[in-house]
Symmetry: C2
Subunit: 340 residues, 2 copies
C-alpha cells in the first residue's frame, strides 16, 4: 500500500539505489535527478519503512527506560516529569522512547535488562534510582551496552551519569535548621539500598558531626519514599522522648506523610516542629504548610541524561561523562525556629 523506494524508482525511471542515495543526500547523484526523485517522493507520499531501515542498519533508533516500580499502585511524580524530559530530548534527535515497568531487583527486571544487553531491542538505556552494587549497571557495563544513569553507584565500573549532589543538599537543609536554632534534628532516610538514600543519609551524618550535634539513633528512620512510608517512619520517630524539633525527610512524598502524621498528633508543622523534604515536586508548594525542600530540576536532568546517551550511542563520547549538579535550597513555611 504505502509507497516504497521501488515505486519511486519506477516512477522516475531510475534505480532503487539512486533513489535511496538521492534521498539520503549523497553527493553522487545529479541535482536534477535528486529533484525529480524528491518531488516524486512527495507526490507519492513516501515515508521510509523504519523496520526495513533498522534491519539493514542494525540499529533501532530507540531508547529504553525501565521504570522501577514497587507494586502496581505506584505513583511517583518524579517519573512523569522525567519521562517528559527524556522523551522530548529523544524526539529532538529522532529517537523513540520505549518504556516498561518492573519491580526493582525482580527476576522480571533482570530479564528485561538482559534482553536489552543482548542488543537489538533498544540502542541504549537510561537507568534511574541507582542501587548499591547495582546489578543493572554491572550487567550493562560488562556487555559494554550504552547507557547513562541518573545517579552514581559504588561498583567498580566507571560509567556515565548525571546526578545531583544529594549529600550537599542535605547539608544545606541541616545547616538551614541549625541556623534556625535546631539541635534535635531527625532524619527519615530513603532506602539505603538506593545510592541516593546512602548519600543523603551520609550527608546527614556528616553535617551533624561537622556541627558538633549528636545523632540520636532513634531519630534516624527509613521509609520507602511514599507518603505512607513517611508517615510510618514519623510515627516511629515521634514515639520516642525527647522528640526532635526538626525532621528532614529523604524526599517530598515522605515529608508529606510526616506532616500529615504530625498534624494528626495535633501539632503544628512550621510552628511546633519543622519539617523539610527533598526534590521540590510541584505539589510541595501547594501543601500546607508549604514545604521547605531541595530543588531537583528533574525535567532538565532527564534531558541531559538523554542527550548524553544519544551522544554515546553515536560514538561521541562526552568530554565529561559525570555531571554533578549542585542543589539549591527552597525555604517555605514548614520551616520554623526551634522551640524547646
Amino acid at each position: 500500500m504505502a509507497a516504497t523506494l521501488k515505486d519511486i524508482a519506477r516512477e522516475v525511471g531510475v534505480s532503487v539505489t539512486t533513489v535511496s542515495r538521492a534521498l539520503a543526500g549523497y553527493s553522487d547523484v545529479a541535482e536534477a535527478t535528486r529533484l525529480r526523485i524528491q518531488t516524486a517522493a512527495a507526490r507519492l507520499g513516501y515515508h521510509p519503512n523504519l523496520q526495513a531501515r533498522r534491519l539493514q542498519k542494525q540499529r533501532t533508533d530507540t531508547l529504553g527506560f525501565i521504570i522501577p516500580t514497587f507494586g502496581p499502585r505506584f505513583s511517583d511524580p518524579f517519573f512523569s516529569e522525567f519521562i517528559a524530559g527524556i522523551g522530548n530530548e529523544a524526539s529532538l534527535h529522532d529517537y523513540d522512547l520505549l518504556v516498561s515497568t518492573h519491580a526493582p531487583d525482580s527476576a522480571d527486571e533482570a530479564e528485561a535488562y538482559q534482553r536489552a544487553a543482548r542488543g537489538r531491542w533498544v540502542d541504549g538505556l537510561i537507568v534511574v534510582r541507582t542501587r548499591q552494587d547495582d546489578a543493572r549497571i554491572k550487567l550493562l557495563s560488562e556487555h559494554s551496552f550504552p547507557f547513562v544513569a541518573f545517579g552514581r553507584s559504588n561498583c567498580e565500573h566507571d560509567f556515565p551519569f548525571v546526578d545531583e549532589d544529594s549529600a550537599e543538599g542535605i547539608r544545606l537543609l541541616v545547616e538551614h535548621f541549625v541556623a534556625l536554632g535546631h539541635t534535635k534534628i531527625a532524619f527519615i532516610a530513603p532506602p539505603s539500598g538506593l545510592m541516593f538514600g546512602h548519600f543523603r543519609r551520609q550527608g546527614f551524618l556528616d553535617t551533624m558531626a561537622a556541627n558538633g550535634l549528636p545523632v540520636v539513633p532513634e531519630w534516624v528512620g527509613e521509609g520507602d519514599m511514599s507518603q505512607r512510608g513517611g508517615a510510618a517512619a514519623a510515627e516511629a520517630l515521634l514515639s520516642h522522648t525527647p522528640r526532635p524539633t526538626a525532621i528532614i525527610c529523604g524526599n517530598d512524598l515522605m515529608a508529606m506523610g510526616t506532616i500529615n502524621y504530625i498534624q494528626q498528633l495535633g501539632l503544628k508543622v512550621g510552628d511546633d516542629i519543622a519539617v523539610a523534604g527533598f526534590d521540590d515536586i510541584p505539589l510541595a508548594a501547594y501543601v500546607s504548610p508549604s514545604l521547605t525542600t531541595i530543588h531537583q530540576p528533574i525535567y532538565e536532568i532527564g534531558r541531559r541524561t538523554c542527550a548524553m546517551l544519544i551522544d554515546i550511542i553515536n560514538g561521541r563520547f562526552p568530554e565529561n561523562p559525570h555531571h554533578l549538579l549542585t542543589p539549591t535550597l527552597i525555604v517555605r513555611k514548614s520551616s520554623c525556629l526551634a522551640i524547646d
Copy 2:
C-alpha cells in the same frame, strides 16, 4: 555476532525454513528434529531478530502512548500509574510500549498522530484525556487505525473506549454534600475542552437541579487540573459573598490547591468549609485534611484499555467495546456538615 536461524540450520544440518518452523511450533516438523533444533538454539543462545521478524510480518509488536503535557514542568500522578497499567498488560502479551509527550492540540502532536495513522510506527494507540471534537479520534477513525481511548467523545465516529462515569461520580459528591446539609455548593471544573471536564460539569449542574439547588454562576469556576489552577479558581470563587459552604473540585490536584488557598485565608477545611476532589490519587489520603474524593482505578483502567487494544489489533473485536465503570465515593476528613 548474535546467533541467527542460519547458524542453527548449519549446526543441525537442516534448512533455515525448518528451523523457523520448528521454533514457531508448526506441526510439519518431526519431534526429534524439533528437539535437536531447540537444544541447538538454546546452546547458541539464539534470540530472534525482532527487526527482521517485524519487517517480514509487517507489524511492530509495539503500542503507542502519546502523553498530552502542558509545558515541560508537568507532573501528573495519573500518568505514572496509567503507564504502569498499560505497560504491564502490554508486556504480558509481548508488546512493547512507545511513549512520547506532546502539548495537546499542538502541531507537534498532530504530526505524531499522523505518523502513527500512516501505519508501521506502532500497531495501535492509546488515547487519553479525550477532547471535544477530538481531532485525534477523528484522524485515527478515518484511517481506521487501531486505538482505544480512555474517555468517551462527542464525535460522530463510534470507537472503543474505557471510561468512568464522571457525571455519576459528581452526582455522588453533590448528594454527599447535600446529605450533610450543604446547599451552597461551588464547583471548580476541569477545562471544558476535555470531555470529562464537560461530563463532570454537566453532572454537577444536573444534580444541583435535581435537588432543587440554585447554581450560582460565580461559584462555578474552571481550572487547568493543577494545584496552581485550583488555588487560582478557589481564590476567584471565594472572593464573592456569600461564600459557598462546600467546594467540589474537578480533580484531586485542584482540590489540594483549593485547600491550600482556603487555609491561607485562615479557614479550616473539614470544619468551616467542605472540599472534595476527584480521582483519589494516592496523595489524597495523605494531605491534611485527607480528601473526600471519587476513586478511579487508574491502574486497572490502564490494563483494560491496553487489553482491549491488543484484542482489536489481533482481529478479536470485543463483544462490548464500551466499558463504563461506576465510580465509588471515598469520604474523608475534608467533608463536614454545613455551617451557616
